[in-house]
């Protein structure tokens, strides 16, 4: 399983200009092109998960995630925010890199946890924040995932 196979170029936004955490979650959910109601439900679930504890894991990285029936397969998106967002992260530092993961409640191939785990593993690598900052386009982001062997 390779992480890059789960990302499509149109679900990568390297120039987020959102002002808040909520706005950012909405923007990233929008990359999945669901209908309006489904987007609303998904946003609510992600918010609810954030209310249980921030998914900002430190070093400028956040991994919002949830399961919901409004998606029929595992979906992932990535967003980069130059100025940084207040995500109430564990280290209280601004978040610049957001990996969004959503999956249906039951998946045939059960990829949700392994994908979440791989993103976590990738995020823990020492040089990842600076490498993500330097990525020039979506293709470069996918190459970075590949290079890191996740």
């Amino acid at each position: 399983m390779r992480l890059r196979d789960f990302f499509s170029v149109d679900a990568i936004d390297l120039d987020l200009s959102t002002e808040t955490k909520d706005e950012t979650l909405k923007k990233l959910v929008g990359l999945f092109h669901l209908d309006e109601k489904s987007e609303g439900i998904l946003f609510k679930m992600l918010k609810r998960r954030e209310n249980l504890g921030s998914t900002g894991i430190g070093r400028g990285i956040a991994i919002p995630h949830c399961r919901s029936l409004v998606v029929n397969r595992l979906r992932v998106a990535f967003g980069r925010h130059g100025a940084g967002l207040d995500f109430k992260a564990i280290d209280e530092k601004p978040v610049h890199y957001v990996f969004l993961i959503v999956a249906p409640p039951l998946e045939v191939s059960n990829q949700y946890l392994p994908v979440l785990g791989k993103i976590a593993q990738f995020s823990k690598e020492a040089d990842v924040p600076e490498r993500l900052a330097a990525v020039e386009n979506a293709e470069g982001f996918l190459q970075l995932l590949e290079e890191k062997g996740v």
């Binding site: 439900i41 998960r49 249980l52 894991i57 991994i63 399961r67 029936l69 564990i90 039951l106």
Partner: protein, 118 residues
């Protein structure tokens, strides 16, 4: 989307989150990497489920409770014209609606509420 369907979907998602915290892998990740307080999270999820339940009509509330406790899921997706609660094809007249989620559909074969993912 039918408002009761929206509530049912939300409740089911919350039940799934709640149950997931009993699974080793999810709990480990949530309490480890994300430093979540699992017991507090469980209390918060259960309180929200109780609150949402009040929005359902009595018969939907009973159907939901029965399905979630006996068959894990109350709402199942319909994918490619097939109900994923029983794998029986859905009558074509249902799926042909402009937005089938505007109605609250219950499978005639397995009794699950149905949802059509986009």
């Amino acid at each position: 989307m039918h408002d009761q369907l929206e509530t049912l979907l939300e409740m089911q998602d919350l039940h799934m989150q709640r149950r997931a915290l009993d699974e080793g892998g999810v709990r480990e990740l949530e309490t480890g990497l994300f430093e979540m307080g699992a017991e507090q999270a469980i209390d918060a999820l259960e309180a929200k489920i109780t609150e949402l339940e009040l929005r359902l009509g009595k018969s939907n509330q009973e159907r939901f409770r029965h399905l979630i406790s006996t068959r894990q899921r109350a709402v199942v997706p319909v994918l490619a014209g097939v109900c994923y609660g029983c794998f029986v094809a859905v009558p074509t007249s249902w799926a042909a609606d402009a937005d089938p989620n505007d109605k609250l559909n219950v499978c005639q074969s397995c009794g699950h509420f149905q949802y059509y993912p986009s």
